[in-house]
Amino acid sequence: MEAGDRFPSLVVAMKNLSSEKTLTHCRSGVVNGSHATDGRRPIRLADLPDHVILHILSFLSITDAIKFSTVSRKFRFAWSFISNLDFDQRVFPDPDNSRLYADFVDRTLILFAAASLGGFRLWFDYEQRYSSHVDSWVLFAVRKNVEALHLRLSGYRRSYGTHVGDPYHFPLALLCHGRLRVLNLCYCSFDSKPLLHFPHLKSVFLDDVKINDEAVPNLVSGCPLLEELSLDYCYTIQHLKIVSGRLKKLELMHYQRPNSSVEIFAPNLLTLSCLHYVADKYEFRDLGSLVHAIVYFMDTQELLPRWRIVLGSVKHAKTIHLLNWWNTDLAEARNKDMIMLWNTHCLGLKTGNTKMEMFGIADFLRIAPNVITLILDIINTEAVNWKDGSERAFGKRCLEEELRGRLRHLKTVIVRSFVGSENELELLKYLLTHGVVLEKMSLLSAKPRCQFASEELLADTLKALQSFGQSFPNVEISLS
């Protein structure tokens, strides 16, 4: 088919879409729901106003949106007016054929008719020979004044670090001309140039992006509105330095490199996440505004001092989330000279459900005496576990004793991925007994149900907990 044959129908489709500004502007007098709705003929799919159809299509991947458009003549070019383009190679009928997929993206963009783009998302199994394709797609999106650009060029079946060839070289300078607010890059690289200015950019997410030490400072200084920055698997940075008076949210994730350093100066930062970001030297200055902190480090001898430094820098935050992996050998070292979290009102713990980890929870409640809300994210570790030396190490400790008198402010307990194991139940009992001002306990069961969370066990647990809870009429216990 020639392109000329296609365009007349496209023009008609455009006219239809623009002329039908249905319903919503009816404001006064008798309310009239204009077309096709005299109460006799049932409403059909074709009766839906165009903007509702476009709204629906904008949540679908582009392949689904195009499939929908071939349902009937009315919807023929509906997809070409949607405000979000979501290309996802994983849901493409032939996901292994990158050539076919690239052709499909090319063709779709030629037919795309909307004047501007809210979001452009691409998930593509990138290889170097497609770089000019990706260049043209990025250019297309920027010319359509895209607001959120998401390039995920990492093959969906490859794991990190197994890529062959260079990552996609992202033309960063292009963005100076657009209206981009959100940039999300995965498996790319870009040149760092000072003096580039990105007037609208608010959020930047870099995942497996190969950049040098200058790139982040240059980017931050070029984005006067930047509020959110996330770095994940950015191994090529050796010395990270972020100075920003505007940044509100910073995520540093998955990194380990010898002789590396992190230097953060962000007086208005509200949220700091440091997830398995292992540098040799940390320097956090002026984090006075910090409200939320998430600090995850594995529990090893080597990482313990780093964990202390980072936790020490964020200890004034109101909400702190920590990893409660319990390593028996480190219990003593960890509990020595503990940093007190006096300001913490909400404590979140990602934790296993072994006995050791229950003691870990008790230890954290000791260093955070003013906790009002306790959130436990349970990962079932009982199966992979031990039963060996740890009993010995904790033989002398009594969980109930350790919780007694420590829960003076605890009002709410939220347990996510609740399995209903004996240890969890025991802990909850003690929390009920000693939480003198406890008001609410909500248990959200593990979904999808893991093999340890059988319905019967959960039902039994709930029964036990409720019969026990009857002695605490002030506490509202819910399981969902």
Partner: protein, 177 residues
């Protein structure tokens, strides 16, 4: 009608003539009705000519729930307040069992009455129904007549070969080629 002295009531008439009496606060969840009530251009009974009674019942249920949530949200410790997760679960339950034709009616109603939350619930439901489906499956689900001529269909199929490649409805054709 002793209640109406305490709370102002609004009457709505569905397209099939049934009259519903609801509190003004409930009606005002619908932006279209809110505007009308505030501009005082509502008659004694507001006719809602594009919404049938069963659908209007469902819409009113939704509005009542919204009022219930928002009425106590000013207090610091609101028992009706929902977390993101609870809200999602509630929405799913509300839309459970809604079939394709009811869904279309709900979407038209919530668009017309300008109830953003309900419209979004409907859109979510619609998205989950359409996702991953082949054109013929969607036609069957929503009783849509295929109004393409055979020639047009051939063209569409050629253009979007990828979309039909594994479509069971077209397998026969392509294998006979």
């Amino acid at each position: 009608m002793s209640e109406s002295t305490e709370k102002k009531m609004v009457r709505l008439r569905s397209s099939d003539g049934e009259v519903f009496e609801v509190e003004e606060s409930v009606a005002k969840v619908a932006k279209t009705l809110q505007d009308m009530l505030e501009e005082d251009c509502a008659d004694a009974v507001i006719p809602i000519t594009c919404v049938r009674a069963p659908i209007l019942t469902k819409v009113i249920d939704y509005c009542k729930d919204q009022v219930m949530i928002s009425s106590s949200s000013s207090t610091t410790n609101n028992p009706n307040e929902r977390t993101e997760q609870e809200r999602k679960a509630w929405g799913q339950k509300f839309m459970e069992g809604v079939d394709s034709s009811t869904l279309c009616e709900l979407l038209v109603a919530s668009n017309f009455l300008n109830i953003e939350g309900l419209l979004n619930l409907g859109v979510d439901k619609m998205v989950s129904m359409i996702q991953g489906k082949y054109p013929q499956e969607i036609r069957d689900m929503f009783n849509v007549v295929n109004d393409f001529t055979p020639e047009e269909e051939e063209e569409i199929r050629n253009q979007n070969a990828w979309a039909f490649e594994r479509d069971p409805y077209y397998k026969k054709r392509s294998s006979s080629k």
